[in-house]
């Protein structure tokens, strides 16, 4: 049913509606609350099976400090940053250049190149696992952050190029005619006309790619083995193997993995949603 807007003056109806939605929201986020609550509990409570009652002791500080001191989580966290930040910058650069060319130049095969970028991005990425792993072994990057950075740049560039191309293609033609009339070279046009105008698109892409790369698990498992290289996602999966029933620690670790994308999302919500919906071909 397409609900009609609830009128401004129906105060009780509005209040009731608000509470109903709030109830659904709480149900919706229930699993997350469970994990947050557990991350506050002391080890004694978890051991004693007191998981849902009022905690006899709070272990909030202990749990989060032990995640960082007794497990390699701090290391994983740092690794994630050293992978994600260069990957995001690489993707933004390459896709702006390629998107500009695909949007503004008519040449034979333009559509084909575009289709390859889009199609390649749609491949179930597991298909590339064996050759990519082999490639990284051969060039000596296997089990380094470099392997993950290169792979993520390559893979995300497909989607990002599509995104930037569509954005640049939507810019008014007159701007480019004017630039040409002024005698600007293609490169000058890119730097002085395109880049200032695509800032919102770049912001949207940056946060999207950050989330994708930060959250990646598959390639983290395929391309790394050492703790000194592993990002948080693979690290968390490891922790789970080691600390099987220490649910308070695992929960704290889970929150640590989840926080950066969630914070980024709340800081740049508008851009994030614009990005998702503008280039929503991403799986």
């Amino acid at each position: 049913m397409y609900p009609r807007p609830i009128p401004e003056d129906a105060i009780w109806q509005r209040r009731f509606y608000f509470i109903a939605v709030l109830a659904i929201l709480i149900l919706w986020l229930c699993p997350l609350f469970a994990v947050i609550l557990t991350s506050f509990r002391s080890t004694q409570d978890v051991m004693g099976g007191n998981l849902w009652g009022w905690p006899t002791q709070f272990g909030l500080v202990e749990n989060y400090t032990s995640v960082f001191t007794q497990t390699p989580m701090a290391r994983y966290f740092l690794n994630s940053l050293t992978i994600t930040i260069p990957a995001v910058m690489g993707v933004l650069t390459l896709s702006t250049l390629a998107g500009f060319v695909l949007a503004r130049y008519r040449f034979r095969g333009n559509m084909l190149v575009f289709a390859l970028f889009v199609g390649g991005n749609f491949l179930p990425y597991q298909i590339m696992m064996i050759p990519v792993r082999d490639l990284m072994v051969r060039i000596g990057l296997y089990d380094t952050t470099g392997a993950l950075i290169i792979f993520h740049i390559a893979f995300q560039t497909g989607f990002a190029t599509l995104f930037m191309r569509n954005f640049i293609a939507a810019l008014p033609d007159e701007l480019f005619q004017a630039a040409r009339a002024e005698g600007a070279s293609p490169f000058q046009t890119l730097v002085h006309v395109v880049i200032p105008l695509v800032r919102p698109a770049l912001a949207a892409l940056a946060i999207l790619i950050f989330t994708f790369v930060w959250n990646d698990y598959f390639w983290a498992v395929v391309l790394t083995v050492s703790d000194t290289v592993k990002p948080v996602t693979a690290g968390l999966a490891n922790l789970r193997g080691e600390w099987v029933s220490a649910w308070n620690l695992i929960s704290a670790g889970t929150i640590v993995v989840a926080v950066p994308p969630v914070v980024m999302f709340f800081l740049m919500q508008r851009h994030f949603i614009a990005g998702l919906t503008m280039g929503a071909v991403k799986g």
Binding site: Y2, L97, V222, T233
Partner: protein
């Protein structure tokens, strides 16, 4: 006198600009996909030279009972995932009211979308934990005992898919919310005048305007279902006894744990063929829209 650079600049600049992206993408992504097909025709442990065995891997695969388990699970994923677009639409409609505080709630509904799938996997493993988890608590409330869904062959795949649906529904909801923002007020007003309300309004006036969004939501959901790996790996590692494996996981396991890279590549190729049908459908649609627009 013009230097060669100046003479050829009109085509050299664009070529140079697109080259880094094109090379990296072709070598790492496209070439790898093709190479995978080639490897699937060989027997290979990842170290020694490859031995050509033609369709040997495929013959073995089609006689492997695990292959059919994985394939069936992929189908279950695909079918159950189709619940994400309608449920996403339902939540989008629910929060599509201009009431104070609704905006914040909207954002909170998005949260599962930005969580890492590993985190979602851990969260739901916790939910499903026998005796202690949220599910056990709910069953206990009704005086029943929750089944240990993750170690029961009958339920395990369904349990994982339900967990994976959580972020997927959030994703569809974002898409539909954006779609609802762009509805034509005039058409809806006209519909109201003609007496369309509730279900009729949704079916005949709102949904037709959301066709494009629905197309994208379905596309994203199909890709998501076929790519499923993370949740299986985190929640059950394919168990119990391989009953929750999907093609992607079986391929990973055969290659990384059993060093059967040729066999793994054959599984990947099957996944690729399934996906190719979908990619072709998607691309023809996109290009048709592009050409109509141009």
């Amino acid at each position: 006198m013009k230097t060669p650079w100046r003479r050829h600049r009109w085509w050299l600049t664009p070529t140079l600009l697109i080259l880094p992206a094109a090379i990296l993408f072709s070598v790492v992504i496209l070439w790898s996909a093709v190479e995978s097909l080639w490897i699937s025709l060989h027997d290979w442990d990842g170290f020694s030279p490859m031995t050509w065995i033609g369709f040997g891997n495929y013959v073995e695969l089609f006689n492997d009972p695990q292959f059919y388990v994985s394939l069936r699970n992929n189908v279950i994923w695909l079918i159950m995932f189709m619940a994400a677009p309608p449920l996403g639409l339902a939540i989008a409609l629910l929060v599509n009211q201009k009431i104070r505080g609704m905006r914040l709630m909207k954002s909170l509904f998005f949260i599962p979308l930005v969580l890492a799938s590993v985190a979602v996997g851990v969260v739901f493993t916790w939910v499903y934990t026998p005796q202690l988890g949220l599910l056990a608590l709910i069953f206990g409330f009704f005086g029943a005992t929750a089944p240990a869904v993750l170690s029961d062959e009958r339920f395990v795949t369904f349990a994982i898919v339900i967990a994976a649906l959580w972020p997927q529904i959030a994703f569809c909801m974002v898409l539909y919310l954006a779609g609802l923002n762009n509805l034509s007020e005039e058409l809806i007003g006209a519909g109201r005048v003609d007496g369309a309300r509730g279900w009729n309004m949704l079916r005949h006036i709102v949904l037709p305007q959301l066709t494009q969004v629905t197309f994208i939501a379905i596309a994203v959901t199909v890709v998501g279902a076929l790519r499923s790996f993370d949740m299986v790996s985190v929640m059950t590692q394919g168990g119990p006894f391989g009953s929750s494996e999907v093609l992607a996981y079986q391929m990973f396991e055969q290659s990384i744990f059993s060093y059967r890279f040729g066999y793994g590549a054959a599984i990947a190729s099957v996944l690729f063929v399934i996906m190719a049908v979908f990619i072709v459908w998607y691309l023809t649609r996109i290009i048709r829209i592009e050409e109509r627009g141009a």
